[in-house]
């Protein structure tokens, strides 16, 4: 609905105020079907170690007659133990493992201290469901101070990841109407498919550079460029050339800024644990962080300015204005230009690594499980023959959907998420006062035997429904989150992954290379491969 209201405001909004009379044509469906990024999710996940208090938690809502326990009674590692774990033993890169250890030791709800911050971890499926279902209209994620700090310093707007409260709700209301409905996102199918075709070509180029003519080194690097190309096509309505042999300079600069951003991510997490009064003594990693933000913003700014100039020029010439997501946003101005730029920046940022890590894991898992790969290949062949897939084919490729779900269950890009409770809650028998910082332990629940029998096994078919009434109880694995603050780029990410994996399977048999070792995950803000993954792509046919 808001899109429509938007379209109409086109006629009167400031941007165009003086040119209302010029012919003005918007591709309404593409507007409606506008789109964006991967996954607006950011880790805020802390837990700790040591100390023995027996687990005491039963799942579920409050039972009548049961005494409600206080936070003091909640088990959890000691503050000192946690300090050692995270700062001395580099717990930040093992957050997902620590989360598992602690949930096994302390139960489905436990508390940890992370510097000055008390965090209550929710590691049970049903407790997680309870917390997420109790959410209000503008759930607050967590302490994003390091992100906010930059905006304060630079005077830039916050975007969906960094904003909270009314600011967040306003932007979310606009953006979700553009890029969240599956049928709207399906309109990008052809654009994304064209990028996938380039990815397939890129695989062929890369493998030809190796002695065996089959191996692609560090596949994540390639998927990173695919994801960046895909998301930019949707966000900026323009191709960046990331999959070309030589990447244009501005795109390369952006990639460098993005890498810098992620390399300083961990240090900003440390910084969050340092009390403000210690800042003069222990410097914050702000410098590097800010300069990478500058680089990212500069890139969005350039695209936004260019698009705006295009639109204005067209209107001056009296030509019709047609376009996709960015055009729509600039014409309707439901958000101001700063807000548009900030959201473009954050959505691009959120839509690259998330998608590329998942594609890396998915192809790695397929290579390690040739039987599963064969099964999915057969489904693809039976359904499509040799035809290129579109969004409309995905419902007929349940194993491709299962592959993405199962990959994200085993390697949830965001192993945990954060919430600050906005009401007093009773969870698992404990009273949590309003304002409590929660860590939602998605990794623990998705790897729990109780939620997923044979949890260590890679079984995409566990997600296949026998029929429409077959329910797959899956609160244990909600890689995109749930509800009003869930990943806004979910459907775009799914489309990018479904189409890429299908075409890759149609073209190649994926095999492990002799150099491929058993790759472990590590947390670096997001859950990512702990070492470069090299795979062989052997031609089918």
């Amino acid at each position: 609905m808001s899109i429509q209201s938007t379209i109409l405001r086109v006629g009167r909004k400031t941007l165009l105020a003086d040119v209302v009379t010029t012919p003005f044509l918007l591709r309404t469906h593409s507007l409606h079907k506008t789109a964006t990024s991967g996954s607006l999710r950011v880790a805020a996940e802390h837990s700790g170690a040591d100390d023995l208090v027996p687990p005491a938690i039963e799942v579920g809502d409050v039972q009548k007659g049961t005494r409600v326990k206080s936070l003091k009674e909640m088990p959890g590692p000691s503050a000192f133990g946690n300090l050692i774990e995270f700062f001395y033993r580099d717990g930040f890169s093992r957050i997902h493992e620590i989360q598992m250890e602690h949930s096994q030791k302390y139960g489905k709800i436990f508390k940890s201290r992370f510097g000055p911050q008390l965090v209550v971890s929710i590691a049970g499926r049903d407790l997680l469901a309870q917390v997420l279902r109790a959410e209000g209209v503008a759930p607050q994620r967590a302490n994003m101070e390091s992100w906010k700090e930059y905006r304060d310093i630079s005077g830039r707007s916050t975007g969906l990841i960094s904003a909270e409260g009314d600011d967040w709700l306003k932007m979310r209301s606009v953006l979700r109407q553009l890029i969240m409905r599956p049928r709207d996102v399906a309109a990008f199918s052809d654009d994304v498919s064209a990028v996938v075709v380039d990815l397939v070509k890129r695989i062929k180029v890369l493998r030809s550079q190796q002695a065996d003519r089959h191996t692609v080194l560090n596949i994540n690097d390639m998927y990173f460029k695919y994801a960046m190309e895909g998301i930019s096509t949707i966000l900026y309505e323009s191709r960046l050339g990331c999959l070309e042999d030589s990447i244009p300079k501005t795109s390369q600069e952006y990639i460098t800024a993005l890498n810098l951003m992620f390399s300083s991510f961990k240090t900003t997490m440390y910084a969050g644990a340092i009390p403000k009064w210690l800042r003069p003594v222990i410097p914050s990693p702000g410098g590097k962080f800010c300069s990478s933000w500058d680089g990212l913003f500069k890139f969005s700014q350039m695209h936004v300015d260019k698009k705006l100039a295009d639109i204005r020029a067209k209107m001056v010439r009296g030509e019709a204005v047609q376009g996709g997501l960015l055009t729509h946003m600039l014409v309707t101005m439901e958000m101001n230009k700063e807000e548009i730029t900030a959201n473009m920046t954050e959505m691009l940022l959120a839509g690259v690594d998330t998608t590329s890590f998942t594609l890396s894991w998915a192809t790695y898992l397929l290579a390690r499980h040739p039987h599963v790969q064969q099964q999915i290949f057969e489904e693809v062949t039976q359904t499509l023959g040799g035809r290129m897939p579109t969004a409309n084919d995905v419902p007929n490729l349940p194993l491709i959907r299962g592959l993405v779900k199962e990959t994200l269950r085993l390697f949830p890009v965001l192993p945990g998420n954060g919430r600050i409770t906005q009401d007093d809650l009773i969870v698992g028998g404990y009273f949590l006062p309003k304002g409590t910082q929660l860590a939602l332990c998605h990794f623990s629940t998705s790897m729990s035997e109780e939620n997923f029998p044979g949890a260590d096994d890679f079984r995409p078919d566990r997600w296949i429904r026998k029929d429409q009434s077959d329910r797959v109880d899956n609160f244990g694995s909600i890689p995109f989150g749930y509800g009003i603050r869930s990943c806004i780029g979910r459907r775009i990410a799914e489309l990018e992954m479904h189409l890429a994996l299908t075409q890759i399977l149609q073209n190649f048999r994926i095999e492990v290379s002799p150099e491929t070792e058993d790759i472990k995950a590590k947390t670096h803000g997001l859950l990512c491969p702990g070492a470069p993954i090299d795979l062989k792509f052997v031609d089918r046919v």
Partner: protein, 176 residues
């Protein structure tokens, strides 16, 4: 609860926006401006509230019964083509927390339960809806998401029950 008032605020906002749109569309149509093609598409999509753009006689309307969480029956007239979520919003029905994600398939708060015969007539269900239903509270075999059900004349007289929410249970326990 802040949730209630906030969600109300949101709903009101949506409704007022859509009606503003329709007013404007009408104005533009009468002036035969070049905006016509925008309007045509919007109208074809049936997103506008119809009383302004395409007055429907009452016999074209579909009667829908809702049973709220207190067991009270609410009967409303709605336009074919609207979703059940549209109906709840347009008629300003007060179901706490209903339709939080505004029909974008990111939550399951517009969960409704139907009689078996009605359920069979509701049309196809997508994978995305099934995935969201998996996460619905108090799921039944005849559950659907209201935002995915489009009204047709054939559904005239149907009943949709709003299932209990987590909040109701908390309140009845007196614990929150």
């Amino acid at each position: 609860m802040s949730f209630v008032s906030a969600s109300k605020r949101l709903l009101t906002l949506t409704v007022s926006q859509s009606s503003a749109f329709c007013r404007c569309v009408t104005a533009k149509i009468s002036s035969r401006s070049p905006l016509a093609c925008v309007q045509t598409q919007a109208l074809r999509r049936g997103i506008c509230s119809s009383q302004v753009t395409q007055p429907l006689r009452s016999e074209n309307k579909v009667t829908v019964n809702f049973v709220n969480r207190d067991g009270e029956k609410i009967t409303v007239k709605a336009n074919p083509g609207d979703t059940l979520l549209d109906v709840v919003i347009d008629q300003d029905l007060d179901f706490d927390g209903f339709g939080a994600c505004e029909g974008t398939l990111a939550c399951s708060t517009c969960h409704l339960v139907f009689d078996e015969e009605v359920f069979k007539q509701l049309g196809p269900i997508t994978d995305e809806e099934m995935d969201m239903l998996d996460l619905a509270y108090g799921l039944t075999d005849t559950s659907r998401l209201g935002c995915q059900i489009c009204l047709t004349k054939a559904l005239d007289g149907m009943t949709a029950r709003v299932p209990e929410s987590v909040a109701d249970i908390r309140q009845s326990d007196g614990s929150a």
